[in-house]
Symmetry: C2
């Protein structure tokens, strides 16, 4: 028994590199961006399952677990949309520091907001994935009936209808969900991660 | 090549249970609460190091990585303090869902705020740890010189000086950093986690 007033035993913080070593792969954010109905959520769910099967430690942020929790006090006006993405970016950074391959699935329509997330991360920690699909096809899919409501004026400032979507200027990956299957798009992303050594056993 | 307009292949989301299984231990929040200078941060750093050495997957949230990032747009008035703890609670929940044993080190002076974090988590996911140390000792330690500033009136609403600290009503663990060494307090918490099967290999 002693007093901790004069602590001599002081361990250092666990580093991101140690966490990556523990998990045997690199950590980064896979930032999906695209129109509503483009397939971000479906793709991120399928990709996460595939990564889990490969033994990768992941987490996934989407509207369901963020808009109902951390960001439930935010709406959809420009300031709140900006703050929404800022918070998601900061949480992603914490997840990356925790050693996780982090998947985020949000429309995130503004290039500037996505750039700000990129800016708070290290190089190679931010992988922007453009989920490409025409507005026409997204609107035909309309999985949540949101386009119908937006066209009827029941939802205001809906991305692609009466609010802009800014395509990524230079995304790390583009996947075309209009012309390629889910299996194929998952494969494209996993191949990218393999090629760039994100999934490599760290020695 | 096909179109994803009619997706039949749809994998289900990875569950918390699957993540815990992957990591071979349970996930939960270890929520440290106590006065400034009580030893929350020191203790959480040392505990995380000990857990890492045991092969446990952890993450740690403290003022350094939260107040400078996610919560940098919050101040110290009552509303902002409440929102600060609310956001930390929500991020902790995301971390727990990701399968991590999550350590948080914040004064978190109000019982109601801590209870609200407990409320958004499942039973057994919230472990409240009271880091007990007299104000007198905390003020003598004054590692950041904050008590001196508070006494001089340079900092307003400082917990323990001119803002209240509400001791936990029924914390899962109490550690006394005034009378016990850092090694001992780390051991007490690890023993609790062992006894309650948080560190048990999941089969």
């Amino acid at each position: 028994m002693g007093t901790s007033t004069n602590i001599v035993w002081h361990e250092s913080s666990v580093t991101k590199e140690e966490r990556e070593h523990q998990k045997n792969h690199k950590s980064a954010v896979l930032w999906f961006t695209g129109l509503s109905g483009s397939g971000k959520s479906t793709l991120s769910v399928a990709l996460e399952r595939a990564l889990y099967n490969l033994g990768i430690h992941t987490c996934r942020l989407d509207g369901d677990n963020v808009r109902n929790g951390l960001n439930k006090n935010l709406g959809f006006d420009p300031d709140d949309r900006k703050e929404n993405i800022r918070r998601i970016g900061e949480v992603s950074k914490l997840m990356v520091d925790a050693g996780l391959l982090t998947l985020t699935a949000f429309i995130s329509p503004y290039q500037e907001d996505r750039n700000q997330v990129r800016a708070i991360l290290e190089e190679n920690e931010f992988i922007e994935i453009y989920v490409k699909c025409s507005l026409d096809t997204c609107e035909k899919r309309d999985p949540k009936g949101l386009y119908k409501k937006a066209r009827a004026g029941e939802i205001k400032s809906f991305t692609g209808i009466d609010a802009p979507y800014e395509k990524p200027v230079s995304p790390e990956i583009t996947v075309d969900t209009e012309n390629y299957s889910l299996e194929k798009t998952v494969q494209v992303i996993i191949q990218y991660l393999r090629d760039k050594k994100y999934l490599t056993k760290i020695t």
